[in-house]
Symmetry: C2
Subunit: 470 residues, 2 copies
């Protein structure tokens, strides 16, 4: 076994000292600071490509002869003009596949695949990612193609039409898939009047033209906030020079894609999406605390105990294991820069939908009073261990850095996480549960063969019926 890192040693010594001070009594789980597992000794390096130039982060890893490059940019679906919702999705497809510079679409694909390279473009919810994977000996060729794609994409009209058809098709399929449909309607209801709640339709996608993609591309490469990441088998200074030569002239921070402001939480609402299916999808969601909130770590613990923590999580144990009512059940908490989203979901036979809703409400409501010191301790330990898993692929660490930078968050949140979680007390978990886990707030979405007039829905909030596929 390798020697513990300095950091882990320091932590261990701290814990032992605490225990010694306590006169060798067993640690009280309600107050004990659980010794977190040592974090791996993988360090992400950071710097600028040129003085005043773009920032980049890297991990050297010579185990496998591959280089993975990440170009991250602020921008994505939430910045689509409302009347053109779907623009970022269309661009994701048309940008990469339309050729670039002097290379037509097929020539561009062949130039990549001829060397086994992988180059992809994905504009997500609020960030775009261009990723390149190459063998070290193909680095220059790969960077040339990446530069062409970045600065001179063809965005050919025929590829735009093709991409629009693909996106429209995906929207139709989404409407056929109860869980996708449920989460889409959850977003629409929870973020009403907020960019995150905008959902593309066939109509908005139909309006998109090549000019819109050209304008989006111009904004992405000239105003957004960019950063680069690299993982793998390279020599940093040589790579920095190459990146600086091609991407060093990135513009500074722009204001074109500002961080989203927190949405107002909607009035309690029950959205019924009628679907003739034997299964009903149940989703509850509300606005939650942001990443830097004092409740962040405590809510991570609560979420773990409620439904994210595997077999022993309360929703799973009570609804799935003990009663066999749900095929799938759990909870979620996603902390964004200025707000978060939290909730729970279950998938059940339609005749059990009411029971599952009642059980979910009870488990959510009871957490504040019912959560135990043992559960908090288990959750702390488990969350920290799972965090260690992220280090198993150094690309996760680099991507975390890029996200934090673009989100305006401290870069070292990943390193802070174990201590944040280890410090959560039973009291803090109860407080977070009281503040945030309230099933009477937020939105419920039910996708299935249900009667919207059933009075039990009306008792939970204003009932809305949404017809799928629009």
């Amino acid at each position: 076994m390798r020697p513990a890192s300095l950091r882990a040693l320091a932590l261990a010594v701290g814990i032992l000292t605490l225990a010694a001070c306590a006169g060798r009594r067993p640690l009280d789980p309600r107050t004990a600071v659980y010794p977190p597992p040592r974090l791996p000794e993988i360090e992400v390096q950071g710097g600028r490509l040129d003085p005043g130039g773009a920032e980049w982060f890297w991990v050297e890893d010579h185990d496998v002869p591959l280089i993975r490059l990440y170009l991250a940019v602020r921008g994505g679906e939430v910045y689509d003009p409302p009347e053109l919702a779907g623009l970022a999705r269309v661009a994701s497809l048309a940008w990469r596949t339309g050729g670039a510079g002097d290379l037509g679409p097929e020539e561009f694909d062949r130039a990549l695949e001829n060397r086994g390279m992988d180059l992809s473009v994905h504009l997500g919810r609020d960030k775009g990612w261009i990723t390149l994977t190459v063998l070290p000996e193909d680095l220059d060729r790969g960077l040339d193609l990446l530069a062409k794609l970045l600065w001179e994409p063809a965005l050919r009209a025929d590829r735009v039409d093709w991409a629009k058809a693909q996106v429209a098709e995906a929207l139709r399929r989404e409407a056929d898939e109860p869980q996708s449909l449920g989460f889409r309607e959850m977003r629409r209801a929870l973020f009403r009047g907020h960019p995150r709640g905008r959902v593309p339709t066939e109509e908005t996608v139909g309006r998109i033209g090549r000019d819109d993609l050209v304008a989006l591309h111009r904004r992405l490469v000239s105003e957004g906030t960019w950063a680069l990441g690299a993982v793998g088998d390279f020599e940093p200074e040589a790579l920095r020079e190459r990146l600086a030569a091609r991407f060093g002239r990135l513009p500074g921070r722009g204001g074109a894609f500002p961080l989203l402001t927190p949405p107002a939480e909607p009035q309690p609402t029950v959205v019924i999406v009628p679907k003739a299916l034997p299964q009903t999808t149940v989703i509850w969601a509300r606005i939650g605390p942001e990443r830097l909130s004092e409740d962040f770590a405590a809510l991570e613990v609560c979420d773990h105990v409620l439904g994210s923590g595997g077999f022993t999580a309360r929703l799973v144990r009570e609804i799935r294991s003990n009663r066999g009512l749900a095929y799938s059940v759990g909870s979620f908490y996603q902390a964004l820069p200025r707000f978060g989203v939290l909730g729970a979901y279950g998938l059940t036979k339609t005749e059990s939908a009411g029971d599952v809703v009642d059980l979910m409400r009870a488990e959510i409501r009871n957490l504040a009073d019912g959560i135990t010191a043992a559960e908090v301790e288990e959750a702390r330990r488990s969350l920290v261990t799972r965090h260690v898993f992220r280090y198993d692929d150094p690309a996760n660490l680099v991507r975390d850095r890029l996200e934090n930078l673009l989100d305006g968050l401290p870069l070292d949140l990943g390193e802070r996480y174990p201590d944040e979680v280890a410090a959560v007390t039973l009291e803090a978990a109860r407080r977070a549960a009281r503040r945030h886990l309230d099933p009477a707030r937020g939105v419920w979405v039910l996708v299935g063969d249900l009667d919207p007039a059933d009075p039990r829905w009306g008792r939970m909030g204003a009932v809305e019926v949404v017809t799928p596929g629009e």
Copy 2:
């Protein structure tokens, strides 16, 4: 950049020598041996836990303080008694979640989650995997739980009933999901009368009792072929001792789960699965060459050119990119120990289903004459590069070793792959395509709102209509 490995150097020297011999003429792509990328210097170690004991394979990797253990066993769905099809699936769920030894289900879960450990059981098509992930300091605790689970699972009747309900529910959902349904019916039609073609139904699952799980467990731990794997932050000799103490007394190779014999290829068949959906799923499949066949590598290349190779693959380019007919399209080739499965698939609007079938047939049929030297070269390069990706997680290498051992295949197939692929000539690819890529053979499965009496289906084979959900 780190110095190239000896192996890569030797290859590079070989190539340079060849080029020099050729008098510096450009390499002829029809005959050139393309220089493969160097393989990573990750070596899997192998040995026996005790003299005459079980085999194990390991990769030491101290980057991240985690240990991943794999216990692989021959056995799985294809060995289910026909009247109890689904037994392995039920066992996968009930085994892990039912408690073990002196620990009830909740105690067992808590003992794991209290230390953030992950322990899972998955009985797949022909192999079972029990995996354990622990922090190094929790190794002994984790091994104790693994041993309990292995030798003393409770297999409680109430958990068996719960698992049966879960599996039955999954079967109903599978029938609602056109692609899962399509591949299920493909298996049933392609492997008729063969264990691989058996599909569980609610009826066969309903018949399963606790005794059947007890009997399966007894066969798995007393007759099957077992092996262990380990990846991560451990000292091999110390780990070997611990594993030998708990699992060293594994029985030798048993005959209870023999390798499957190759199935007879069915008469050309068109299976229509009527579903009132706007999309039609099209699948073609036939029996293909085994892993050790002389056609294996050449068919890998053909499959890549036909539909697995990304944007430049023929099916993707012709059907998806150029004509925009398919939302998703591609091909597949899976080489098993004594036979393989190959095929192609497409997902399209129902009104285009006939056109997509015709285009797929044409592209499959035309590959033997149409494949070019440039395509073969690109495929070789790309396949070898993708192979390098597997080395990015050393667990892949250990699992490959375990699979090869259980399948009775040479252990070093992973290391051989680049040379096998690099040696594929245009002639070999054409020969493999002529032998195996014949759309007039095998089965076609169409899931969608189609007229079974349409004469075009009858021209492709015997038409069968299958009602989903049974």
